[in-house]
Point group: C3
Chain length 285, copies 3
C-alpha cells in the first residue's frame, strides 16, 4: 500500500469508529477544534478539570495536549490523562504551542515531551525549540521555515516520536527499522494562517487518526512509528483537501472557515489521493 | 390555546422582553450559545466567577447551569447563582452534560438536581442517568434513543421538573394535576449533531423562554409546570424551525451553523406553527 | 494630514508590522477576537496564566485588558502584564466590560483604570460608570446612549486617556494642548449587536492600532493623545467599513459574522476614507 491507500483507508476507519478525542486545549480554539473533529467524523470532549481527566481518559480513544491558555486545572488534567493513556498504551499528541514564551510554560511542555507522546505537532519554531529543549522568548508565530525544522524533526523521530511540522507545506517525519521517513504535503490555502485554531485543530485531528489507526486492520503490519506516521499524514491530507475545496468558495478568512468545515465533512478517499505529496527515506534510525 | 399559539406568543414575548440569561456553561460553547441567545432575541451573560455570580444572578432573568468544562470557579458560581434564583422564585435550567463521566462531576450535577431546577435538558443517556442517579463512565454522546428515556423523563416530571430530551426527535415531558404530558417535536437537520454546542445552546434558549414565560400574561392561567413546559417546547420549536431553514441553504456543518443563527433571527410565529408536533397526556401525577 | 489620511497610513502600517497583541479577555469572545485581529492584519495571543503573562507582555506590542469572564489567573495576569507595559512605555487598552455587575469586579476594573491605560473602550453605560467610579448593579447591555456618555468620556480624556464609546454611532474623545477632540463615526450594521464579541474585539483591534501608531513615522509629530486617538479612530473606521461591506452580503447575524471577517481582511485605505465622520474640538485640556 502507498500513502494514498492508507489515507483513504484511515478516513473510512475514522468515520466508522468516530474515535472519542480527549482534548486538553486552549480555550481560544476549543469551539473550532470541536467542530473540526465533528465535521471530520470524530467525537470531541474538552475535559480539563483534574477531578474528571483521569477517569475520562480511560474511556477516550485519543488525546491532545495543548497548553495554549493553560490553567492550573489543565496542567493537572494533562498529567492525569497522560498517565492513563500511557498505562493503556494508547497514542497521544503533544502540541508545543507557545514553547519558549515563559520558563514556566516551557518546563511544563518539556515535562509532557518526556512523558512519551506518539506525535509532536507544531510550527517550525516550536519543533526546533522542543528538539533543542531550549526556550527563548518569542510569540506564537513561527520565525523559521518548515525546511529549517527538518533536522529537529528527525532528531525527535530518532526518539520514536512522529514529528509533524506545519507551514506553507507540511512535513511529517518518523523513523523505524527501515529508515527515517519524511512525508511532505503541499497545497493548502493562504487563508489558513488568518483563521485561529487551524494548527491546534490539526493536532486534534491527528490524535483522532492516531486512535483510529491503532485499531485499523490494514495498518497492523506497519511498525508503530509508520502506523502513527500514516495517521498524522492522513490528518494533514484531510486538512489540505478541505482547505483547497474551501478556498474556491471563500471570499476571505471568515467565509473560508465555514467552507473549511464543510470540506472536512465532504472529503472522500479520492480527494485525499489527489493532494500532492512526496515521501523520501533516509538512513536507518 | 394550543401549543402553536403559546409558541407564537412566547416568541413575541421573548423579543419584547430580551431576557438577560446568566449562563454558567462550558467554555467550548460559550460563543455559540451567546450568539444563539442574541439571534433568538435574548441577552446573554456568561458570568462564572464566584465573586460575581450571586450579585449578577440577582439581576438576571434566566439561568443555565452546564458543567461541560467545569472549573472550581464555575462550581462555586453555580451554588451561588442557584441560591439567588431559588430565593427569588425564578426558574432555572440544568443541563447534565457529561453525567457519569466521573464521580466528582456526577456528584456536582446531582447536587444541582437536588437544588430544584425548573427544567432538565439533556440527551437520552444523560436524562436516564440523572433520573436513576447512577453514573457509569461514558462519553458525551448518547447511547440511548429518546424513546428509551421517556420513562426517566416522566419520573423527573413527577418531581415537578420539566424534562426535555434531545435527539433526532425531541421530547418535553411535564406533569401537573391534569396528568403527565409529553410533547414531541420532529424534523431538525442531520447537520445538527456535527455542530458543537447545539444541545448546550438549546438549554440556554430554554432558560430564556422560561424567564419570558414567567412574565407573559397569556401563560398565567397555566400551572407552573405547564407554563415552563410550553417555554421549553417553544425553545425546541424555535431551534427546529431555524434548523430546517438553515438546512436548505447549507453545504455542510460549517455553513449550516451560520445559516442556523440567521434562521433563529428570522423565525416568525407562523414558522414555529408549521413544525410537526404531537402532545399526549397520560395518568395524573 | 486629516483623519482619513492617518487612517489609511495606520491601516498599511498595521499590516506591515502585524503587531503582536496580548489579550487578557473573556473566554466567550477569545476565538472571535483572535479572528478579528488576524483578519485585520495583527497577531493575537491570549496569554492569561500569571506564570506566563509578565514574560509574554515583554515581547508583545499591544495589550487588551477585558474582565468579561475573569478568573483569578486573569486578574493576576493583568496585574503583571500592565506592569510590564507601563515600565516599557507601551500603550494598552482597558475594556471595562461588566463594570458595576459586582463590587469585586468593579474594584478590579478601577484598579486597572488607575494603572494608566492609554485607551478606555466600552459602551456608554460602562464609560459613564467608570468616569464616575460608581458601580450600580446592571447587565452588560448599555442603558445609555453614546451622547449621554460624552461628558464622562471628556472627563476621562482630561486625565490623558483616550475614551472610545461604542454604540449606534461611535465617539472617540481625547484631549491635548490643542483642546478636547471628539471624533464621531457612524454607519455600521444593525446586525452588529446580535453578534457576540464585536465590542470586545474592537478593543483588541484598538490595542493593535495603538501599538502600530507608536511606531508609525507619520504620526510622530502628533501629541501622544492625538496619536492614540487616531489609532482608536482607525480601529473604529476599519470595523465600520467591514460592517457595511458585510451587511450587503448577510442574511442575518450568522452569515454577517463570517462576511465581517472577510470585510476586515479586504478593507483598503480608500474604504476607510469613505466612512462618515465628524471631528469637533472644544476648550483646551
Amino acid at each position: 500500500m502507498e500513502l494514498k491507500d492508507y489515507a483513504g483507508t484511515l478516513l473510512e476507519s475514522l468515520r466508522e469508529r468516530t474515535p472519542l478525542v480527549h482534548c486538553i486545549v486552549n480555550t481560544v480554539v476549543q469551539q473550532f477544534a470541536a467542530n473540526v473533529l465533528l465535521a471530520a467524523g470524530a467525537s470531541p470532549a474538552m475535559i480539563d478539570h483534574e477531578a474528571d481527566a483521569a477517569d475520562f481518559a480511560g474511556i477516550a480513544d485519543g488525546l491532545l495536549i495543548n497548553f495554549g491558555t493553560p490553567t492550573s486545572h489543565q496542567y493537572l488534567s494533562a498529567d492525569a490523562a497522560i498517565d492513563t493513556f500511557n498505562q493503556a498504551g494508547k497514542p497521544w499528541v503533544l502540541d508545543p504551542v507557545g514553547f519558549g514564551i515563559s520558563a514556566h510554560r516551557t518546563s511544563r511542555i518539556v515535562r509532557a515531551l518526556n512523558s512519551g507522546p506518539a506525535v509532536v505537532r507544531g510550527n517550525a519554531s516550536e519543533v526546533i525549540g522542543l528538539a533543542q529543549q531550549s526556550g527563548s522568548a518569542r510569540g506564537t508565530d513561527s520565525t523559521h521555515s518548515v525546511d529549517d525544522a527538518l533536522g529537529a524533526a528527525a532528531s525527535l523521530a530518532q526518539t520514536g516520536i512522529v514529528a509533524a511540522v506545519s507551514g506553507e507545506s507540511d512535513a511529517i517525519v518518523f523513523a523505524d527499522d527501515s529508515g527515517t521517513h519524511t512525508v511532505t504535503i503541499s497545497g493548502g490555502s493562504p487563508y489558513m494562517p488568518s483563521v485561529i485554531g487551524t494548527g491546534c485543530s490539526l493536532g486534534a485531528l491527528t490524535a483522532a487518526y492516531a486512535a483510529a489507526a491503532a485499531h485499523t486492520p490494514q495498518t497492523q503490519d506497519l511498525s508503530q512509528q509508520a502506523r502513527t506516521g500514516m495517521a498524522a499524514a492522513t490528518a494533514h491530507l484531510h486538512f489540505t483537501s478541505a482547505a483547497q475545496s474551501a478556498h474556491k468558495r471563500a471570499n476571505g478568512p471568515g467565509t473560508f472557515a465555514a467552507h473549511f468545515l464543510d470540506g472536512l465533512y465532504a472529503a472522500r478517499p479520492e480527494d485525499l489521493a489527489r493532494i500532492q505529496t512526496t515521501w523520501t527515506t533516509g538512513g536507518t534510525a
